[in-house]
């Protein structure tokens, strides 16, 4: 216990949800209300009235983070992630419990906190640095690196109000990236800027993470959490429901989601298309029969029942495969493989076969997509998910280490001896 970088014990945070009076309809009414209300409002502001509902944004959360660990905090909106970070960053106080942080602390809850639009880039570097907790000498030491990183060059002495939003964000992140804390609390900062800069930020985060700092990282970007963090905390409605390895945490986060209690394919209404054809059911089949878990390298078969209004012509079917994080792995499509169906009976089952499934261990989802006569007929996102466990794909009894690629492919190595040329 004694040496954890972050030690959180039974921390809770309660908010009072203000009961907002119904909107006044007219100015006159509002005026009368306002004049008659000071006493009532005084009471409300003092928190003495019991009108407001109490609500635990965070409840009885305990965990520890060891020095050098990079821990992701995941959870839905309103699960308490930001509240937790704000408590640890000392911005807001907990209602219960205590937390101990050992080491120099810096928090990055927003990019560009304290930037002043009227000040120049140069001035804002100093101001923002100081607000984030840097000493003047430190800022001066990193000044050139910050300017380089932000790529603002000759705009250094222009007020930041004239900056493009991209430049603004780059400068703000550049300052933050040069903080040298022992403990870094980061909230969603990667959700800004263009894709290229996001990559750069992610790279910087990775450097920070691998330089032995303790990082607590809140993000909706699950791929970033997976890529950066060694451990993850899952918050659900203010409670810590999982604390451990990243993969199971993500799994749990994702499976806790819509899957539970989801209507069957036939009943799903969140679909698009003119519905001249509807997918009504689907089954995953391994050679041994129906399943939802495959081995890598096993023959894969997906059966999709459909119903249509009469006989159809020119039917195109596509099934894209995704990881749980929403990353596209590959797409199967009649048009690129066997050609679209020229005619189709009103009822039947599409069958998709993939010999020797190349997917590595994990959980995957499929979408179902169908066009009739070039018009979208039915499109169901995340129609189903299935699992893959590591199988002996190569027949060698060996598989590449986890984390090296999403799929495996057949391949062969050989060599040719170089012939000395005369």
């Amino acid at each position: 216990m004694g040496t954890a970088a972050i030690c959180v014990e039974h921390v809770g945070k309660q908010y009072r949800i203000g009961v907002r009076a119904a909107a006044r309809r007219s100015f006159g009414e509002a005026l009368v209300h306002a004049l008659g209300a000071p006493l009532r409002r005084l009471r409300a502001l003092r928190g003495a009235s019991e009108g407001g509902d109490l609500f635990w944004a965070l409840r009885d959360v305990s965990f520890e983070v060891q020095p050098g660990e990079v821990v992701g905090v995941i959870g839905r909106n309103g699960a308490g992630k930001s509240t937790l970070l704000k408590i640890l960053a000392r911005i807001t106080e907990p209602t219960t419990g205590r937390a101990t942080l050992r080491g120099r602390l810096a928090s990055l809850l927003e990019v560009g906190t304290g930037f002043h639009p009227e000040l120049t880039g140069r001035e804002n570097i100093y101001l923002n640095g100081a607000i984030l907790g840097m000493k003047k000498a430190e800022i001066r030491r990193h000044f050139d690196q910050i300017v380089d990183f932000a790529e603002i060059g000759r705009f250094l002495d222009t007020p930041v109000k004239h900056y493009s939003s991209g430049m603004y964000v780059r400068l703000a992140f550049a300052v933050a990236a040069h903080l040298e804390p022992d403990i870094l609390l980061v909230d969603e900062v990667l959700a800004v800027g263009d894709a290229l800069f996001q990559q750069k930020c992610l790279g910087t985060m990775r450097d920070v993470a691998s330089s032995g700092r303790t990082v607590l990282f809140v993000s909706h970007n699950l791929a970033a959490v997976e890529g950066l963090c060694q451990r993850a905390l899952l918050l659900e409605r203010g409670r810590l429901t999982f604390c451990g390895q990243v993969a199971p945490a993500l799994q749990r986060y994702l499976s806790g989601a819509p899957a539970a209690g989801q209507p069957s394919l036939r009943e799903r209404t969140d679909r698009s298309g003119n519905q001249r054809l509807r997918f009504t059911g689907l089954r995953f089949c391994a050679p041994a029969g129906q399943t939802d878990t495959f081995l890598t390298g096993q023959d894969f078969r997906l059966e999709m029942d459909y119903e249509a209004q009469g006989r159809l012509r020119h039917v195109s079917v596509s099934v894209p495969f995704f990881t749980l994080l929403g990353q596209s792995v590959f797409v199967t499509w009649t048009r690129v493989s066997d050609g679209d169906f020229e005619t189709l009976p009103p009822r039947g089952t599409f069958i998709l076969e993939i010999p020797r499934l190349p997917l590595r261990a994990g959980t995957y989802t499929v979408n179902l997509y169908c066009e009739v006569n070039g018009l979208l007929a039915d499109w169901v996102k995340e129609a189903a998910r299935f699992h893959v466990v590591e199988g002996d794909y190569f027949g060698s009894g060996r598989m590449p280490p986890a984390g090296h690629g999403l799929i495996v492919v057949d391949h062969r190595f050989s060599y040719e001896e170089a012939h000395a040329l005369a």
Binding site: R90, I91, T113
Partner: protein, 304 residues
Amino acid sequence: MTGSGATFGAVGRSQAALPGGRAPVGQETVVIEAGAGRRWSAIASLKSQLRELWRFRELLYFFVWRDIKVRYKQTVIGAAWALLQPLCAMAIFSLIFGRFAKMPSDGVPYPVFVYAGLLPWTFLANAVSQASLSLVNQARLLTKVYFPRLFIPAATVGVGLVDFGLSFGVYVGLMLWYGHTPGISILLLPLLVVLTAMTALGCGVLLASITVVYRDFRIVVPFLVQVWLYLSPVVYPVTIIPEQYRWIMVLNPMTGIIAGFRAALLNRSPDWTALALATLLAAGILAVGVGYFRRTERRLADIA
């Protein structure tokens, strides 16, 4: 949240607070604890709070620097505004009260008399009005990053101090013009500036934290400052107040401070009793202001 609160307790290089007590020597440790803030401001935590302020001291400088920079960006005459404000006030007061109303001025030219009073008054009035709005205006900062919140209103007092320096330069010119040479009592000046700053800081932080909760004070504060002006002997000497009401005047720290300024600048012997009382009052205001602020501080991010 009724009643149960928390503060950011011990901050510093202490190991005593650690349950295990084996943190590396010299490492900063922060203990965040619910409920610690309910103790008004325990002496034990006062020390670590002061240490925290010291650790962030550069930030105070940056806030002052920012406010001054920003104020004069895109202005034509820039810092000259700091001089123009008291000069105009002096001109108007001299005309109305000095010339037309024939206000007595303790035997010195009225402009010199009134400017000597305007020096601390302008400092106080600007600092208090700016400070009271400072937290509301910078609410965003409060909800996004931690630093000693006291620095936000304190910075406005710092800005006031810089302005004071500039307008004091004008006063030196004024004295040369009227041929007044300062005497030994000018040595009181630093003390008087400190007293004014203490009063400004005390009122400023108090009103700043009240304004965050009760936004009415955005309207109330300018009015209060206006009233305070006439309750302080800025445009008139204390001597015009009937003897039996003087004690009320003395409850206002600015009475002693302004009288002190006049004594220091116009080479009179100061009223030591009034000065001692002003010192006590200024210290009291500062203590109450900062005390109240520290109590509200822990809730600021939730209500700002």
